[in-house]
C-alpha cells in the first residue's frame, strides 16, 4: 500500500483505526507517520457513510483504499457497495468509473462468533461490475493489491486475520500480479485441489500427508482471484489428474465451489474419473466454541478425509 500511496497522489487509505491506532491488525502500521493525515484517514464507525463517501470520491477520480475492519461489516454498507459501486458504471452507460478498493479480513477461525466471521466472496462475486480477490500468501497479497489499486473497476480484496501472521518472501519494490491468474502452488498428478485464501495452506499441508502416507500426488491450484476467474488453469489441471476436490471457507449453498464445480462439469465432463467433491464450512452460522470452530472450517484433517473420498 505504501508504494502505491507514494506513486499516485489520488490514492488514500480510509477506515476505522487505520491511522493513529496503526490498524486494528497493524496492516497500516507506520503509514500515518509516513504520509500524514490527508492520505491516511481515520473514519468514525460508520461503514455506510464512509464507504459511500469513498465511492463518490472515486467517481471524481480519486483511488481510495477503504479498509473494513472486518468484511463482516459489509452488510451495513451493502447498498453503497453493491448498489452504488457495482452498478454506477452500468447505469450511466459507461460514463462513470469507480476505481475503489475495499479491503479487510474475511474469515472465521478466530472465535468471534457468527456476526464477525462472514466470508462474502460469493455474495460479492454475484454482482457483475465488481472484482473479487482473495490472496493466500504474503507475496501474492502485495502483487495483487498493487494491481487492485491500479484497476479502473471496483475491487474487493478479502484478507484473512489468520494469515496476517504468516511469513513469506516479499521482495521490496515493484512487482504486479495480474488479477484473474490462478497459481499452481503444488504440482501433482492424481488429484486436483482447487482452492483459495487460507484453505490453500490447509490444502498444501494435506497434500504433504497424502503424498507421504497415501502415495497420492496432489496438485493445488490457488485461484487467487474469484472474479475474474482463471478457469483455464483449473481445467488444465483437471485434464492432468481427472479428479477434483474444491476446498473453500464458505457455506456450501451457492458457494464459490458450487460455481467452479458447475464450470468443470460443463467444460471438462469427459475428463472426470469421479464426481467432483467440495469441502466447505459446516453449514451453520459460525460457532463460537474454540475447539469446535476448528472443525466447522476446512482444516488439513478434513481436507485429507475429503481427498481420500474422491480417490476411493
Amino acid at each position: 500500500m505504501a508504494e502505491e500511496i507514494e506513486r499516485d497522489e489520488n490514492v488514500v487509505l480510509l477506515g476505522e483505526e487505520v491511522g493513529q491506532f496503526n490498524g486494528s491488525y497493524k496492516v497500516s502500521e507506520g503509514l500515518l507517520e509516513k504520509f500524514g493525515p490527508k492520505r491516511i484517514v481515520d473514519t468514525p464507525i460508520s461503514e455506510a457513510g464512509f464507504i459511500g463517501m469513498g465511492v463518490g470520491s472515486s467517481m471524481l477520480g480519486m483511488r481510495p483504499i477503504m479498509e473494513l475492519m472486518f468484511w463482516s461489516f459489509y452488510s451495513v454498507a451493502f447498498d453503497q457497495i453493491l448498489n452504488n459501486a457495482a452498478n454506477v458504471r452500468y447505469m450511466s452507460g459507461g460514463l462513470i468509473n469507480c476505481p475503489i478498493v475495499i479491503r479487510g479480513p474475511a474469515n472465521g477461525g478466530t472465535n468471534v462468533g457468527a456476526t464477525h466471521s462472514h466470508t462474502p466472496e460469493n455474495v460479492l462475486a454475484n454482482h457483475p461490475g465488481v472484482k473479487v480477490v482473495v490472496p493466500a500468501t504474503p507475496y501474492d497479497a502485495k502483487g495483487l493489491l498493487k494491481s487492485a489499486i491500479r484497476d479502473n473497476d471496483p475491487v474487493f480484496f478479502l484478507e484473512n486475520t489468520m494469515l496476517y501472521g504468516e511469513k513469506g518472501e516479499v521482495p521490496d519494490g515493484e512487482y504486479l500480479i495480474p488479477l484473474g491468474k490462478a497459481d499452481v502452488k503444488r504440482e501433482g498428478t492424481d488429484l486436483t485441489i482447487v482452492t483459495y485464501g487460507r484453505c490453500v495452506l490447509h490444502s498444501l499441508k494435506a497434500a504433504e500427508v497424502l503424498e507421504k502416507e497415501h502415495e497420492i500426488s496432489v496438485e493445488v491450484v490457488d485461484l487467487r482471484s474469484i472474479r475474474p476467474l482463471d478457469i483455464d488453469t483449473v481445467l488444465a489441471s483437471v485434464a492432468k489428474t481427472h479428479r477434483v476436490l474444491i476446498v473453500e471457507e464458505q457455506k456450501p449453498f451457492c458457494s464459490i465451489a458450487t460455481q467452479i464445480a458447475y464450470m468443470i462439469q460443463h467444460e471438462a465432463f469427459d475428463e472426470l474419473d469421479a464426481p467432483i467433491k467440495r469441502l466447505s464450512t459446516v453449514d451453520a452460522p459460525a460457532i463460537y466454541s474454540p475447539p469446535i470452530e476448528i472443525e466447522q472450517l476446512p482444516n488439513p484433517a478434513r481436507v485429507i478425509k475429503a481427498a481420500l473420498e474422491v480417490m476411493a
Binding site: 464512509f50 463518490g56 447505469m91 459507461g94 461490475g129
Partner: protein
C-alpha cells in the same frame, strides 16, 4: 469546527429579488430561468402521456410543482460545483443542461438515451456537466455526494457539492452518517432537502419527528429552511450556503419546502393520502412557474407574447424529443454486457486475465 449558525428566519415578506445574486441577473438570464422551468414541466407532462401510451417502462417519478428548486440551485453552479440527486431526477438533468432528446430516449429505453437505455428514469447521469445521477435507493446517494465534496476538498478546488434528498430520505441511516462525516471533516457540501410534504404516501407528520433541517444542530452544522416556490428565494438561500461551502469548507442542510402535484410515481393513484383541494390550493397560490411568470411580467421581462412563445417552444421541443426517441434504435442483446467493466470495454488496455462474465 464551524461556529454554530442559526437558521435564517424566513417570512413571507422577505424580498428575495433584492438579494445580490438575483439583482445581478440580466434579462436574458431571467428568461433562461423561466424557460428552464417551463421546459422541465412540458418535458414531464409529455413523458406522462408517453407512459400512458405504454412507451415507457418501470417507474416515472415526476417533478411537476418542484421546478424552481432544480432550476434555481443549478443556475448557481460554477466549474467545480457538483450535483447528485435521487430518482426524481428529470428536473435536475434539464437544469444542468442535458438535452430533452437523450433524456426522453432514456425513458423509452433506447440506445440513444443518456445512459444508452441502461439506467431508465431514475438513473440519469452527465458527469461532463458535473451531474452524478440519478439514484434509485432513498438516501443512498447522500454518502456519494459527500464523497464528491471530499474529492473537491482533497484536490484543493474551490467548489461545492449539492446532495439533493427528499423529505422521506431524512430518516435513512446513511443520510445521518453522511451528515456526520461532512460536519466532522468540514466538507464543502449543501444537503438540499426537497420537502414536498410526502414520503411516497406518508405525510411528514406521520414519518418524521421534529424539524427536518434542524437536525443539523446535532452535528453542529448550519441550516436553513425556506419556501421554495419562488426561484429567487431558492437562489438567494442557496447562494449563501454554497458560498459557505466553497469559501469556508463548511456544510449546511437547507430545507426547501415544495410540493408535487402528481403521485409519488405513475404507480401512485394519489387518492388515499391527500385531497384534491390541497393540491389545487398549492397550484393556485404557489405554482413556481406561475409565480415567476407573474413576477417577470411585473418586471416587464416577460410579455404575454413571450410567455406564449416560450411555452410553445417547450412543447415543441418535448414533442420533437418523442419523435427522436421513437425513431431511435433499441440497445442490442450484445449491449447487455457492455459498460459493466471498464476493462472489458477497453480490451486493448486490459491488465487482468480470466473470465469476467459467466453463463
Amino acid at each position: 469546527m464551524s461556529t454554530k449558525t442559526k437558521a435564517k428566519p424566513t417570512t413571507a415578506t422577505t424580498d428575495y429579488a433584492a438579494a445580490a445574486i438575483n439583482q445581478k441577473l440580466t434579462k436574458e438570464q431571467k428568461l433562461e430561468l423561466y424557460r428552464t422551468m417551463m421546459r422541465i414541466r412540458r418535458f414531464e407532462e409529455r413523458s406522462i402521456r408517453a407512459y400512458q401510451a405504454k412507451k415507457i417502462g418501470g417507474f416515472l417519478h415526476v417533478y411537476i410543482g418542484q421546478e424552481a428548486i432544480a432550476t434555481g440551485c443549478c443556475s448557481l453552479m460554477g466549474k467545480h460545483d457538483h450535483v447528485i440527486t435521487a430518482y426524481r431526477d428529470h428536473g435536475h438533468a434539464l437544469a444542468v443542461g442535458m438535452g430533452m432528446n437523450e433524456l426522453m430516449a432514456e425513458l423509452f429505453g433506447k440506445a440513444t438515451g443518456c445512459s444508452k437505455g441502461k439506467g431508465g428514469s431514475m438513473h440519469y447521469f452527465a458527469p461532463d456537466r458535473n451531474y452524478w445521477g440519478g439514484h434509485g435507493i432513498v438516501g443512498g446517494q447522500v454518502p456519494l455526494g459527500t464523497g464528491l465534496a471530499y474529492a473537491i476538498k482533497y484536490k484543493g478546488l474551490k467548489g461545492a457539492a449539492m446532495a439533493f434528498l427528499g423529505d422521506g430520505a431524512v430518516n435513512q441511516g446513511a443520510v445521518h452518517e453522511a451528515y456526520n462525516l461532512a460536519a466532522l471533516w468540514q466538507l464543502p457540501i449543501v444537503f438540499v432537502i426537497e420537502n414536498n410534504g410526502y414520503s411516497m404516501g406518508t405525510s411528514q407528520s406521520r414519518s418524521s419527528a421534529g424539524e427536518l433541517a434542524k437536525r443539523a444542530e446535532g452535528y453542529n452544522m448550519a441550516w436553513a429552511s425556506v419556501d421554495a416556490h419562488d426561484v429567487y428565494a431558492v437562489r438567494a438561500v442557496m447562494d449563501e450556503h454554497l458560498n459557505r461551502a466553497r469559501e469556508k469548507c463548511e456544510p449546511t442542510i437547507v430545507e426547501l419546502r415544495t410540493y408535487r402535484y402528481r403521485g409519488h410515481s405513475v404507480a401512485d393513484p394519489d387518492n388515499t393520502y391527500r385531497t384534491k383541494a390541497e393540491i389545487e390550493e398549492y397550484r393556485r397560490t404557489k405554482d413556481p412557474i406561475q409565480f415567476f411568470q407573474d413576477r417577470l411580467l411585473a418586471e416587464k421581462v416577460l410579455t404575454d407574447d413571450t410567455v406564449k412563445s416560450i411555452d410553445k417552444a417547450a412543447r415543441a421541443e418535448a414533442e420533437s424529443a418523442i419523435e427522436f426517441a421513437e425513431a431511435s434504435p433499441w440497445p442490442t442483446v450484445e449491449d447487455i454486457q457492455r459498460d459493466v467493466y471498464w476493462e472489458t470495454d477497453h480490451p486493448a488496455e486490459r491488465t487482468s486475465s480470466g473470465r469476467l462474465f459467466f453463463d
